[in-house]
């Protein structure tokens, strides 16, 4: 029964009839350590809080009492009617559209230049001094998000900030006391810029690692066939690191659907006209300041659903763009 698992047997085509293996100590301990324990931890710390939060979202729990009343879907109805929450949902969706796209495009462009964008003669290589750029652009990622937020908060300060100082210094007097984070037109773009600034370096390094694992001969072949740098990037590099791009896209999407730390540092109050308000900020206020934990849980459920929908969209798009038909898979 178990003597020759490595030798392919003749009846591979048919569903193999598995004889039940005896419950030896080895087997039981194996199941316990590698299946039951992780599953238990997962259920207790991941699944259970999720179920619990969903249950709370159906109640009017204030958060400070042991008792609560079941109210059905009333909280969700309330969220739909709550224009401020809907604004924050829209802001999150807007972030999820812009931030991953811009970050991935920039990171991909930089990674290409550093790895294969160099001289057209000799071996395929990156630009001169590429390792220096690589280190430099990774710097922002080593700074904690909250610190990034606080640094840029000072940069954007209308009266004493570096940005307005430079702009007025070169003669653009219109930026005197201009509130980058306090004007509806610029608050969101400025906040997005900060997030993207913090992540481009990291995803660049991720893409660099992916590109390094592409066999160099492919680039040589492409070059012999007369492909320019742009053509190489889109026809050789991109298809070969497709999975990495998808993963990066999803991680960035999850980040953008949260974005709490950055927004809380840059505009704790949600920004002018709530233009940078994100769902977790609203959740926190609803739960702890207004004492409506039931409603706040409903917000959390909406956030989770939004994230799952985002992931589903990315998978679908990748598949539609031919992610599975590619012949070359690693």
């Amino acid at each position: 029964m178990i003597e020759s698992p490595l030798v392919p047997t003749a009846d591979t085509e048919k569903p193999r009839k598995k004889a039940r293996q005896p419950w030896t100590f080895d087997r039981i301990s194996f199941v316990l350590v590698f299946l039951v324990l992780p599953l238990a931890l997962f259920s207790v710390f991941v699944v259970w809080p999720f179920v619990q939060a969903f249950w709370y979202s159906l109640t009017d729990w204030s958060g400070f009492t042991p008792d609560m009343n079941f109210v059905g879907l009333e909280n969700y109805q309330k969220l739909l009617d709550d224009d401020i929450f809907m604004t924050s949902l829209r802001n999150n969706i807007f972030l999820a559209i812009v931030v991953p796209f811009v970050t991935v495009v920039l990171a991909f462009a930089l990674a290409t230049m550093i790895t294969v964008g160099g001289s057209a003669h000799g071996a395929t290589r990156g630009l001169k001094g590429s390792s220096f750029y690589r280190v430099i652009s990774f710097f922002p990622y080593t700074i904690p998000a909250i610190v990034i937020g606080l640094i840029w908060l000072q940069m954007f300060d209308p009266s004493n900030g570096l940005l307005n100082g430079v702009l007025t210094g070169i003669g653009l007097d219109g930026f005197e006391s201009y509130p980058w984070l306090g004007d509806t037109r610029t608050a969101m773009p400025a906040s997005m810029f900060v997030i993207i600034w913090g992540f481009v370096g990291f995803y660049m390094v991720l893409f660099v690692a992916a590109i390094k694992s592409v066999p160099g001969e492919l680039y040589d072949a492409a070059r012999i066939d007369g492909a320019g740098r742009l053509r190489t990037a889109f026809s050789v590099t991109l298809p070969l690191i497709r999975d990495n791009v998808q993963t990066a896209y999803i991680y960035l999407g999850i980040l953008a659907l949260d974005a709490f730390v950055y927004m809380a540092a840059l505009n704790p109050g949600g920004g002018p006209e709530n233009s940078t308000l994100v769902m977790p900020q609203r959740l926190l206020i609803t739960a702890f300041e207004k004492g409506q934990f039931g409603l706040a849980s409903a917000m959390g459920v909406v956030m989770a659903v939004a994230t799952l929908v985002f992931a589903a969209i990315v998978f679908t798009v990748n598949r539609l763009l031919g992610g599975r038909q590619e012949g070359v898979r690693r």
Binding site: Q52, A53, F156, G270, F288, E289, F293, T307, R324
Partner: protein
């Protein structure tokens, strides 16, 4: 074949990881909120000790009192000071003073589990909404009826009206410890130098704005987190102009309460100042402490409306010889319903005693100790702010012009002291900030300001799940 299968496996894995990641924001916020309660049966029977003159609440001997104190502008050492006195008076008892800046987040699970502390200073940005825990705290009237350590009835040693901000539905749920005077603050030395006088009406303020402009300064400035300081100023001014009916309409969330003619007149007065360009631009993008430093250190603007904590808050960032003083809110006309000297003043730092605490008498005893002359004088001296206990500030105000100015304003106001609580009670400040930032930046008109403030009020009034507390 096998490659395909692998892909699926990895995908499934990734999906699982994704689902987990999506759940993280939920679970981290709510994992701590297990709604199960355990041992809240035996709390009411907290074993009391013998009641006596020294121990009016019957605190058990050798008991421990657990106090959680907001660690903000006033720190927590003033409670520790009182705790030391209490431990001396009650040999064997201990007081544990825990500082925190996140009152709500820290205490929420303890309330649910039926194990709250014995004394809370429910203050700061993350304080617990009063309406949420109103049913779960002690009525503190018996503390006021007790004698203080010096043997005088505590109620007789306090400023008038200090119970008002902590009284909800006839129950003294919170005792606010620190006397806060809301006023418009200025540098008396700068005003003297230029021969300016504090404005008494909004028209005078507009004139002063012109003079400030001539001197290359602004009249007002603001910071994004503190835009509603101007709402406080405007409401105070409107109440002085129109009297109690304005206050009651706002407090009871009445329809069209923001369209009251006196409220409108104040908004118009402020609107004129904004339209004239007398408010420093860029406030909506400036952190409030940075903005306040532009007033107290750079003197970019002449006036700043705030509570009396401003002196302590900006202590390190105030220009030498600033000589900070305050004056009460401007009125619209000289014949306002309440006199110009009427003052918006309220006690702040609400101390509450949860009924489910393990040592309720201990919490009351600590509060009684804090209200003693010794502890209250220590507070005024170290924090340069008066407590609700009268006669703890000497004539020289421990060398602070702002503290003297507060005492003067309180004396001049006499019994014309008022306050309101709907903003804190229903937690509307966050939403109102947005509206005020736009208005101060000159981005919205008085009409828009009014309708949007009304929307916020209406939303609360029409939400049945929020408990309303009628004010009379």
């Amino acid at each position: 074949m096998s490659i395909d299968k692998k892909t699926i496996d990895r995908r499934t894995l990734l999906r699982g990881a994704l689902a987990a990641a999506a759940i993280v924001p939920l679970s981290s916020a709510l994992a701590a909120c297990a709604g199960s309660s355990s041992d809240d049966d035996d709390n009411s029977s907290s074993k009391g000790g013998e009641k006596s003159a020294n121990n009016p609440f019957g605190m058990a001997a050798d008991s421990t009192t657990d106090a959680v104190i907001f660690d903000g502008g006033y720190g927590t050492d003033y409670v520790s000071f009182a705790a030391t006195i209490m431990q001396k008076n009650h040999e064997g008892s201990t007081v544990k003073v825990s500082p925190t800046t996140e009152i709500s987040q820290e205490l929420q699970p303890r309330f649910v589990a039926g194990d709250p502390p014995d004394l809370i200073d429910n203050s700061g940005e993350n304080s617990i909404g009063f309406s949420t825990i109103l049913d779960q705290v002690e009525d503190l009237s018996d503390v006021l009826d007790a004698n203080n350590l010096e043997g005088t009835k505590i109620r007789d040693t306090l400023f008038g009206g200090v119970e008002a901000p902590g009284t909800f539905d006839g129950k003294l749920a919170a005792l606010n410890y620190v006397m806060t005077v809301y006023a418009v603050w200025y540098s008396s030395s700068l005003f003297e130098e230029n021969g300016w006088t504090p404005p008494k009406t909004w028209d005078e303020a507009l004139d002063l704005g012109a003079k400030a402009k001539a001197a290359g300064k602004y009249l007002f400035l603001w910071g994004k987190e503190a835009a509603t300081y101007y709402q406080t100023l405007a409401i105070g001014s409107a109440i002085k102009q129109g009297g109690d009916e304005v206050r009651l309409a706002l407090e009871n969330l009445e329809a069209n309460c923001w369209s009251n003619p006196d409220v409108q007149a104040v908004f118009e007065g402020l609107g004129k100042i904004i339209d004239a360009g007398y408010v420093k631009p860029g406030g909506a993008g400036t952190q409030f402490t940075a903005a306040q430093a532009q007033w107290s250190n750079n003197q970019d603007a002449l006036l700043y409306p705030s509570g009396s904590w401003i002196e302590n808050e900006m202590k390190d960032q105030t220009k030498a010889g600033f000589d900070m003083k305050g004056f009460p809110e401007m009125t619209v006309t000289a014949d306002s319903a309440l006199p110009y000297t009427a003052l918006h003043s309220a006690a702040g730092e609400p101390f509450m005693i949860p009924s489910q605490g393990k040592n309720v008498p201990g919490g009351k005893e600590l509060l009684r100790t804090m209200l003693s002359k010794e502890a209250a004088t220590n507070f005024a001296k170290t924090k340069l702010a008066p407590t609700i206990v009268k006669d703890t500030v000497p004539a020289d105000g421990f060398g602070s012009t702002a503290l003297v100015s507060q005492s003067e304003m309180l004396t001049a106001a006499g019994s014309d002291v008022f306050t309101w609580s709907f903003v804190d009670l229903y937690g509307t400040n966050v939403d109102q900030l947005v509206v005020w930032n736009s208005f101060l930046a000159g981005k919205s008109s008085v009409k828009e300001l009014t309708s949007r403030l009304q929307d916020i009020t209406d939303k609360i009034r029409e939400d049945d799940s929020i408990k309303k507390i009628p004010v009379t």
